[in-house]
Amino acid sequence: MSAAFDVIVVGGGHNGLACAAYLAKAARRVLVLEAASDVGGAAANREIAPGFTVSACAHLLHSLHPKVIADLDLTRHGLSLSASDIPTVALDTGGKHVVLRRDQVMESLTAHSAADAAALPAFYRRFMSYAAVLQPFLTAVPPRLGGGGRQDRLTLIKLAWAVRKLGRQEMREFLRVIGMNVADILEEAFESDLVKGALALDGVLGTSFGPRSPGSVFTLLYRLAGEAGGLRGALAHPRGGMGSLTQALASAARASGAEIRCGAPVARILAEEDRTSGVELRSGERFAAPTVVSNADPRVTFLSLLGAEHLDTGFVRRVSNLRQRGLVAKLNLALDGLPSFAGLKEADMGGRLVIAPGIDYLERAFNHSKYGEYSEHPAVEITIPSIHDRSLAPEGKHVLSAVVQYAPYDLKRNWDDAREAFTDLAVETIAAYAPDLPRRILARQVVTPLDLERDYGMTGGHWHHGDLALDQLLMLRPVPGAAQYATPLPGLYLCGAGAHPGGGVMAAAGRNAARQVMAMEGVA
């Protein structure tokens, strides 16, 4: 087995592709092996009916790192936005919706609560300053715990300094809120349930938290640390769906010489003499390379592909105890026309419509998930991307894309049996605001957490390949011993959402991993 490649990347999700593109740009011979029939992972498109294309899972950009866009020249490779800085609309059953966009005070907010309108800008400014502390660390290799070198100490000092720079009072406040729950913070600042619910959603989206779970403030900050369309804390629609972003990444990787093979599920990561030597596909075909980078989640990477036999027990135990229970499902609809949301202005239809009318609503929705049930009244994040992007649906028709939370992976009922009932429930939940929705549906599709595991290879169907919680962050992500992209097995690296800085379509993990590989591995 002679090595035709320097690096094999297992998985062509957006992080794997970004990693491959960076490595190929640095003249490494790279092979990407993707299990699915196309690249993208959870950032891909799906044709749900002839002519109707929708982002299969991830649908909104809020964190794609601008460095990655620039370094890889993604605009030239086809990335563009169909809408940027779109507003968030907190849907109200009475039709008195409140529109939110970063720190801007909209008329609907003033009308709804003058006090909250007054509180919003200061709240936002403060949270953006906290988010700014975290922002530089998204593209840094986390420091090693104990016995680290100079670089590790430097990163820790930078983190401490970034916090200190907030000023004495704000630093104290930052340290106070960082481990808090998002409900308590919002209760301190706002009076309106609708406003609090919509803001709290960002603290729990994609996590296994409720708004009253500690650490949910951190998730909110993490989101705000990202940017889209050049604006911090903004939301944007990729033109052509999320799949077009990963196509752009694939194109950038190929342009630099990377080879990408789809329909090539890796069965084993091979090791010889305590070092990676290549991979074996499920078909039995083998590829040799001295370096293997895995975009698969840590549990799959270490326990299924590599195998515990190459790892120490404490490490294996930490990996097997990773919390990785997905709580999110995706509803994708093909519509024969725009549904009418009572009381919603046409201009706001293209925004992000959220059903999260209050902290209690969210917390109740969360309660079910603790006991293996899906929410009776779920929180929903809806977009109708075809409003901005006519390429997604035939003339006059539309696609609706909705994240539905909470839908636990470990449902007491079998997901395959519960699928129809759950889909009905999700549609009804939206129909409470848009009564004509059911009539407009031409095709519908639900991606359950079980589907995410089966079809996208995400253990537990988890958005972040492992909870983004305080004990699974930075130098603890995914677990000590593998938190600097390098793993205990020389030659094996992680580059996916399970690594720092976590999931969301950010591409930072892929970029950071590539840099670490370049720093640690010579060229063959």
């Binding site: 305590d274 326990l303 195998g307 515990a308 036999e309 190459h310 790892l311 120490d312 027990t313 404490g314 490490f315 294996v316 135990r317 097997s320 011993g481 205990p488």
Partner: protein, 395 residues
Amino acid sequence: MTQPPYKAPLLESPLHSRTAPLCLGNEWTRWGGYASVDTYLNTEHEYFAIRNAATLFDLSPMRKYRVSGPDAARYVSRLVTRDVDGLRPGRVAYAVWCDDLGKVLDDGTIFRFGPDEFRICSQERHLCWFLDCAIGYDVNIEDVSERIAAISLQGPRSFKVVQALGLNDCRTLKPFDMTHFDFDGGPMTISRTGFTGDLGYEFWLASEKAVSLWDRLMEAGQAYGIRPIGSRALDLARIEAGFIVPLVDFMPAGEALRPSRGRSPFELGLDWLVDFGKGHFVGRRALLAEKERGRGRRVVGLDIAGNKPARDALIYAGRSKQVGAVTSAMWSPTCKRNIAIATLDRPYDTMTEGLWVEIYVDKERKWEKAMAPCRIAARPFFKPPRRSATPPLDY
């Protein structure tokens, strides 16, 4: 009086009904949750019986884990630092197992019953660790400690006792061999193993049959001066044999609160137990790095001038530089030497002269300090031919 919420503060071994009436001094110690005899009546008598006659020790509180299944051999090889491929069915091996950092968690003996069946015996409980080590392996791990009792028969005349029981087949057992018999209609394993560095055998059988075996051994041993011994006498014999004991001679890594207290097999002087050639095992990468870096300290045997046992003594290079400490010490009546097991910092662990031990001597409640010169000595301190002679020598 109100009843305490527990039935008995300590568990009783299956042999309690036999050991308790004999424990005339009522001196007990704790061992893994069990009451274990410390001294029956007189430690010296018990010690000399080990070296001159035959002794019984109730080994039942020992933890015993059955490891079986298609991956059993691969599993054991992953768990411990030594090679077990070469361990044939019917053989026993001493081994240590380490954590990720290459620090020893405990030591024990591995009995290979068949290609896919082992038993691991250790002083302390390790089920959680053993199960964690089994993640990804098709192996079954079972704690059989309560089901299996064990009696250790040690001393130069122990084979005579075995013979008197009619178990002549033990004649050909070499050290670390084991064989199986039928006893009262159930299986019994006898291994030529022990903790005394002397001729001796260990008997393993179902707990219900332990009393019957004890009685038969005591009866058969009458003619050979058999005597039950407690852990205090055994400890003297094991020091002479040069064996180290966790929690005495080193902190097991799982018990240490201070991360720097863990000890690697190299630091324990157990280099011969580490096999880097067998593929990955837990702690391998850390141990390889340590091998390159060089160990920081080492457990050694010491010969100390004079006859004052150097218990818990500090060791100096020259008169003032503290370079280590004694962890076990005794005046050895059999060797007629003042011996100790100690840990010495590098590079003093190879010093040929200039090492001093600071001994505190109690002269009828008047304490005096003595500085005694010492030399690093080979272990075992006591190594009689009868320990390994096969067939056993006639005593």
